[in-house]
Subunit: 102 residues, 2 copies
DNA sequence: GATTAATATGCCTTGACACGTATATTGCTA
DNA sequence: TAGCAATATACGTGTCAAGGCATATTAATC
């Protein structure tokens, strides 16, 4: 599942949004979302595999936290479009420079 | 269909990417993509409805172009996460300021 | 080691959507 | 207005992912 599909799911974005507010256990997320525990766990697996979150065991719980680097991928995709809407040619140029490098 | 679902589809992203390179008619996009004409037209409809592209009739053709403002929605969504990955608290603060305004 | 708590996985059902073929629509041209 | 070119819509089909329920796993405690 690619990056875009991972964040296309509204409940997964809700999980990410909740984690912005601080780290959460699975149970805490279940309390905040209108989803069953297994469904939340599955979404977390997708987010983990996609690199958006990481889990740290604390006793029987697993504390989930954002893994911000992954969001940079999305930012990179957005960059050339950002350049056009902002009318900022510098961003577009840096994008083209990046492409020349490869 | 929400914004994130619109860009979740790889062929739709390919269309957007092609339009970065310059405006295109439907037929030109069909030539560049491994898709039938009806499928391309349907993707364009989704992109149009979502506000990512706009069409201008030129004789029988319709020239499609990017509508960059829509991409700013993603930037807004990304902003608080960007703040965490960059360690830049200023961006996070401006996000929180925005929330206070509403 | 049995019990309970917390989380993960398996299985199944359902709904959404991407696709192609066929056809309708729109607009130009002869 | 007949015919052709370009694009859009209708319809049917297949795939895939999200959801819940049931169950397995992992970890603490008694």
């Amino acid at each position: 599942m690619d990056l875009f599909e991972v964040i296309a799911e509204p409940n997964r974005r809700a999980i990410l949004s909740a984690l912005l507010d601080g780290n959460r256990s699975v149970g805490e997320l279940v309390d905040e979302l209108p989803l069953s525990q297994p469904t939340v766990s599955k979404h977390l697996k997708v987010l983990r595999t996609g690199g958006f979150v990481a889990a740290e065991p604390v006793a029987q719980r697993r504390m989930y936290r954002l893994q911000p680097e992954q969001f940079a991928e999305f930012a990179r995709w957005l960059e050339p479009y950002r350049a056009t809407w902002a009318g900022r040619l510098d961003a577009l140029e840096s994008h083209l420079d990046d492409m020349e490098d490869t």
